[in-house]
Symmetry: C2
């Protein structure tokens, strides 16, 4: 490829970084905490958001942008619980800023405390794209195996929180929570972790508290 092409690529990348930076600054000022949720397909991102919305009910307001290659299946699940816009990439393996902006304009003038971005189910590509989030959360289900962090290092290195889902299946699968967390912390020593079961609600209060604390910290920094 020519030098010219490479420089075009860099321009696009830095424009995306700039857009992410501006979104984060804007939402920080408005007191809205943005959470980018990433995982493999079927790890339980949507179920986690359903459980979060049910737990918070009237405590905290949340809105959701949910990404998929195709279908609006996830938005159909989440819409009864929170203002939700489905983003379909038409095949692309991750979300990018222009689609986030489009989703935000579809959401309209939101009054919310938390904006969740449910990324495409993919442990690789979304790792490389800052979407303006304050917190990146990687979700790993107990059925995927505790060897995954080392095999998908960038996703775990760029996340601040690890949520281990489907704890109800622990008796039936060869998965050690301790081993998974230890493997992830080899890559990202400061990774916080919480283990949940979205179906039973186990661990959901701890997960929600972690989010509330993170938002409080953002507000405190903002007002400092």
């Amino acid at each position: 490829m020519s030098t010219k092409t490479i420089s075009v690529g860099q321009d696009i990348l830095s424009a995306a970084k700039q857009a992410a930076f501006e979104l984060r600054a804007d939402f920080t000022q408005r007191g809205i905490f943005i959470v980018n949720i990433v995982s493999s397909p079927g790890a339980g991102k949507t179920s986690l958001l359903e459980a979060t919305a049910r737990y918070w009910a009237n405590q905290n307001r949340m809105s959701v942008l949910v990404g998929d290659l195709a279908t609006d299946r996830d938005a159909q699940r989440l819409s009864p619980l929170a203002p939700t816009v489905q983003l379909t990439t038409g095949g692309a393996c991750h979300l990018e800023m222009p689609l986030i902006r489009k989703g935000l304009s579809e959401l309209g003038e939101i009054q919310t405390d938390f904006l969740f971005i449910e990324n495409i189910g993919n442990l690789v590509c979304p790792a490389s794209h800052d979407l303006g989030e304050h917190l990146r959360v990687v979700v790993l289900s107990t059925t995927e195996g505790d060897d995954k962090p080392g095999k998908y290092p960038k996703m775990f290195r760029t996340s601040q929180v690890l949520v281990i889902t489907k704890s109800d299946l622990l008796p039936y699968v060869p998965f050690s929570v301790e081993a998974a967390v230890a493997d992830a912390r080899l890559i990202q020593p400061n990774l916080q972790s919480v283990t949940v079961c979205a179906r039973s609600g186990d661990g959901i209060p701890e997960w929600c508290r972690l989010l509330e604390d993170a938002r409080e910290q953002m507000l405190a920094t903002q007002n400092a």
Copy 2:
């Protein structure tokens, strides 16, 4: 982007297609059946290959190229059972022909009936890359949800076989094998399907028979 850049992209793509075509023709002539296995992370590709190697033992010879972003964890599991080469992409989300060629040269002069390519755990990007395989097999575990085919349509549209894994967990998860297969066949009506549990061996004979039949068909076409 300039017209020039686009044409370079097309050249690379058609070179990759040509390389895949040549590999398939070469291996067909040598009687080696190539299977490209794709799935989400942790769906059980490696466990399926372990069970396949154990079941076949002295019946069929198999070799494996196993892809990961990082680590040689999968090759460590498979090497005791079959000649295996680990391919690490260093972050790339799918395997491509140059790495396949490198892996084959590392395998050396293989005498084998089946060559398995275990792709990167990713339900999106590997769909777009022909690796010279005779058969593309998409693996979906019962813990991922029966709504996944419609959400990741290209992967299911470009596959010929669907293997549903972790059937031992069916009593504990909201997953209907019939619904998953029906959803996949909306996209790819000719998709064959088989349900297995690699840990117990349930369904492994049917899976292996399916592979043997497919190879027989290739040999018959070759000798026609």
